[in-house]
Structure formats: structure tokens, C-alpha cells
Assembly symmetry: C2
Homo-oligomer: 325 residues x 2
């Protein structure tokens, strides 16, 4: 029995195959070449899945279900991507149907943060926790909510938009059209953007050295590495982003009173450089009755959290995980 | 069969008696004379309840249960008030036991916003709604969360602290010790405080006329009335507070994706002067997928929402309302 997971991100896609217990047995990472157009991207994902199967001498007959996830809102019931931030032309694409037909197996789709939450609930840091929230901090910021060991999807499937809470009303413009959303202050792309814009005032920063003087090449990884090396400009940009991230997490703690906050996504590769300030801000800014009981930990599934999430989604729909199991 | 409800607020207390269906049959409002000390306040509440009973020729034998609520955190299991904002000396008071002994009936206690949410769920605006949130906007700002028709109390009973989300990181000091919490910007007391402080620059404001020139007498009701009459200073203070309230509600909408937001508490007596700007900010600042499905309405139980909530709490514990009923 095998389950396929497909995590389509704006810059990279991860495909994986798991056994009936959700253990990844093979996975592959490929660049999402958005500029080549949607058809080409979908074809390369199909090819990658076929490649995974052939590595293990498997055919599509061995696939029991397929889970797909991507950033942005989806219509889970109809199996549609509604919109994909950073992937123009991906509106209302029937992605579940496309992969279902290719591999002759049932397929389901959901938001990447939602399925990552499901993965941490079933197989990760939330395995023994009743109430927790999951934050993903990568190009954007999203999240998911678990109450009483059940994923809470919201009234129309959109709960957990932690990245679009406003924490600085007149702050920078956000991809959603608003200003001062957490995502516009603490996401990987906002950290990079801010560093690119402000580095002109800090000509001696190590960041410009690392990118041969081309600010457009600065990434959030550069900034966190610079902060780790105590580069003054990097620390200034990084600390500000972490302060807002801490405020955003503290707000969710005050609202939901979780036992645990799990944080995943690319930006968390910075490790304690992220977790230490976030914990400090929660301690300082959340109500003490709530902050004293809440733990803040990295996603146990690391970089695989979304692809394992996609697999978990298919397992949930197939009745292999979930309530009563 | 009768249930007693006791809603102890920082400035007023409401006591009520209801039948087994939760219908208030008698109620009484009294000032909470905090300065006279805790014993005296408790004695006057006891006397008020005895008065309610005698109006209907009832004795304590007719009481099946007592629900008590107050602002601030409680230990619901042990029946304790942990702390009461605006009521110094009320820490760790075994209020449930005190009333239980006086009236020889079981008594329970919970936070006022929590029980108000329960009241709106069972008897108010949330009667036919699966997922909703309740905001109380009075001296402070609190709230409650209903998911799948169940009150979500949080991991240690503190969920729904909507008033302590930070919406302006360097904003005014809050009663909780933080800065820029929603409560410090949009609660009744923060509106009054801001008007008192800034009226010196607006000597011709109608507010100073209404209070005979003594800024310390300005209340949030004065400010909303001034705004209704298009007094420039009042409108300036009021609109700012409503803008932040809208941001705070929009954040909760983005996080919880509710079908409905119910807003109660003294400040909502301003009516559309409050609801119109709050709806407008949600429309502008929450994600469209979430804002388009959410309604924003006043508490159906009006000023009685917390005392009916206290009654509902007792009814829930007695098994008269709740799941499966």
C-alpha cells in the first residue's frame, strides 16, 4: 500500500511516496519553474512522481491515494487550487483531477500550512498534544489550528491565516493588499526585501559581500547567516522581523490558549536565532496565565512537513489516520 | 426549578433568577462599591439575591444552581476568582463556595466574557451558528470562541483574550503591563482616558461642556454621543478607537474563519456608530475569502448577556443545556 504526496511551492516542489504508516520511502525535490508555464510545471511533477515509482519498481497500481498541497487558498471539496501566490496563471486549476487521472488513484488537495498542521498532529511535534497551533514561516506566513486533536479548518476552510493578522497598522504593503500584516514584516520574502532596500545605507555589510554587490540576490538565509555572524546590518533586519514574529505568535497564544506552538518553514532553519527571540517576546507580551503553559518548538518533520502533510491528507481521506484510530 | 445568576463587574453587579429554560424572571442591578471592601460587596450581592427571591415568595430551597461571573481570570474547577481587574483585594477568593453556602445550592464561576459567549451560543445570536466568536467591549475587552457549537475554553481556560492581542506594538500602556493591546486602544476606559488627556487641545469640544469643564468626568459614552452629534474632537477619538477595534476583529476573523462575530458590552450601546466602522475595516483588512462569509452583529442578549451567561453556566453544569440537548 502506497501513498503519494506532492507539495508544490512557489520556488520548489517536493514529491514523495510513503507506506501505509506514513513513512516516507522515497522523495525528490525539484525546482518549480513557474516561468515555463503551468503545463510544463505539472508535467515535470508528473515525471518526478513516475521517477519515484520506478526507483522502487512500482507502477500506478501500487498507489492508493495522492495528496497535493500548495500555498494559497484551495477549494478542497472540488479539488481546486483557487489562487497560488507567486504562481500567476494557477487560478481555479483542478489539480486533484489532473493527478488522479495521471496515476489512476483518488487525489485530494489542501493548503500547504493546513496539511503541514495535519502532519505535525499525526506524526510530529503535536502527536501527544490536545490543542496546538502550527506556524509556517517561509516565503509567506500561514498556519493551522488543532483543537481537541482535530484540525479546525474554519467555516469555509480558511482558518489559520496567521500571516495576515495586522500587527503594525501603517506597516509595509502585503501581498494581500493590506499593510502591516505579519507576513509583510517577518516572512522570508519580506526579510529579503527589507535587506535589499536598506543595504544601501550599510555599504560595509557582509551581505553585499556575499552577493558580489548585487542587492537583488540577498535572501532571508543570507540575513539570518549574517545575524548569526553578528553583522550589524543583518542583526538589525533580522531582530526586527523576529520581534514582529514574536508579537504575531503571542497574539495567537492570547487568542487560542494552546499548549504548544509548532513553527516550521524555511526561515526556521535559522534555529535558535528564530526560536529564542520568539519565546522571549511571548514571555514578555502574552498574558502570563497563557505564556507560562505554552511550549514553542520547531516542526518535528522539518523540511518534509508539507509533503508528509499531503500524504497525511490522503491517509485521512482513506481512513488510515484520524479520529478513533 | 430556578437558577440564580450573578455578574459581578468592576462598577456594577447584576443578579438574576431564571426558570429552567433560562428565561430571566427577575433581575436587579446594583453598584459594585469596590471601595467599601470585598466583604461588604459580597454581602450586598447576597442581599440582592435574597431580595430577588422574596419578590417571588421563593426561598433558597427553590434554587437548583448558581452561576457567578466576573472579569479577569478564574480557576473554574476550584471555583476561585484568581484576580479581578479594577477590584483590588479580590485575588483567590472562593466565590463559588461563598454563594453555595449562603444559598445551599451548587455554584460555579467563570470569566464574564466566557459565560456571555455561552449565553449567546444557547439563547442569543449564535443559536444557529456552528463557529462564532464573541467580543465584549466594555471597560476592558474580552472574548470567547465557539467551534462546532462547543465553547472552546483553551488549554487552561484562558482562550479568547482578544483584548490583549497587540495591534500597535509601541502603543499606549495596557492594564496587563504590555503596550498597544487592543484593550489599550478601543476599550471603554481607554476611549475615556484618551479623551480626558487630549481634550486640553480642543477647548471647544462639547465633551467639556457636558462635564462642566472637568475632564476626569468624561466617559466613553460621552465620546460616542459626541461622535453621533458630529463633534470634531469626539469623532476623532471615537473613529481612531473603532479603527483599531476593526483591526482586532479582522485579525480574529483571519485566524479563526468564523461565520459570525457577535459584539456585546457597554460600548456597543453606540450601535451603528460602532458596527459600521468595524464592518468596514474587516471588509478592507481581512482576507476576502474570510470577510465575505462573516456577519458582525450585536449581542442578542444586550446588557443581560453576562448575567444570562452566569445562569447558562449553571444550567450547563446541571445538564440542562449543552451537547445532545
Amino acid at each position: 500500500m502506497s501513498i503519494v504526496g506532492i507539495d508544490i511551492g512557489g520556488s520548489k516542489t517536493i514529491v514523495g511516496v510513503a507506506d501505509e504508516n506514513g513513512n516516507l520511502i522515497n522523495k525528490k525535490r525539484l525546482a518549480t519553474l513557474v516561468n515555463l508555464g503551468r503545463e510544463q510545471v505539472i508535467d515535470s511533477v508528473k515525471a518526478a512522481v513516475w521517477g519515484l515509482l520506478s526507483d522502487y519498481h512500482m507502477s500506478s497500481e501500487d498507489i492508493d491515494g495522492i495528496g497535493v498541497c500548495c500555498g494559497g487558498p484551495v477549494d478542497a471539496e472540488r479539488g481546486l487550487v483557487l489562487t497560488c501566490p507567486n504562481m500567476p496563471g494557477w487560478d481555479n486549476v483542478a489539480l486533484a483531477k489532473i493527478f488522479s487521472e495521471e496515476f489512476n488513484a483518488p487525489a485530494w488537495i489542501d493548503n500547504d500550512a493546513t496539511v503541514a498542521t495535519l502532519a505535525e498532529l499525526m506524526f510530529g511535534a503535536g502527536m501527544n498534544v490536545n490543542n496546538f497551533v502550527y506556524f509556517t514561516v517561509s516565503a509567506g506566513i500561514g498556519g493551522g489550528i488543532v483543537i481537541d486533536r482535530k484540525l479546525y479548518r474554519g467555516s469555509n476552510g480558511n482558518a489559520g491565516e496567521f500571516g495576515h493578522q495586522v500587527v503594525l497598522p501603517d506597516g509595509p504593503p502585503c501581498t494581500c493588499g493590506d499593510r502591516g500584516c505579519l507576513e509583510s514584516l517577518s516572512s522570508g520574502s519580506s526579510i529579503a526585501k527589507r535587506a535589499r532596500r536598506e543595504c544601501f545605507d550599510w555599504p560595509s555589510t557582509v551581505l553585499l559581500h556575499w552577493v558580489d554587490g548585487n542587492p537583488m540576490l540577498i535572501t532571508s538565509e543570507h540575513v539570518s547567516r549574517g545575524a548569526a555572524e553578528e553583522d550589524e546590518f543583518s542583526s538589525y533586519i533580522w531582530n526586527q522581523a523576529m520581534n514582529y514574529l514574536g508579537i504575531g505568535v503571542a497574539n495567537v497564544v492570547n487568542i487560542l490558549n494552546p499548549e504548544l506552538v509548532v513553527i516550521g518553514g524555511g526561515v526556521t532553519r535559522a534555529g535558535e536565532l528564530l526560536f529564542e527571540p520568539v519565546r522571549r517576546v511571548i514571555e514578555k507580551r502574552a498574558l502570563s496565565g497563557l505564556s507560562k503553559i505554552v511550549g514553542v518548538v520547531p516542526a518535528a518533520l522539518g523540511d518534509d512537513v508539507a509533503v508528509v502533510g499531503a500524504i497525511t491528507l490522503a491517509m485521512e481521506r482513506l481512513g488510515l489516520v484520524g479520529e478513533g484510530l
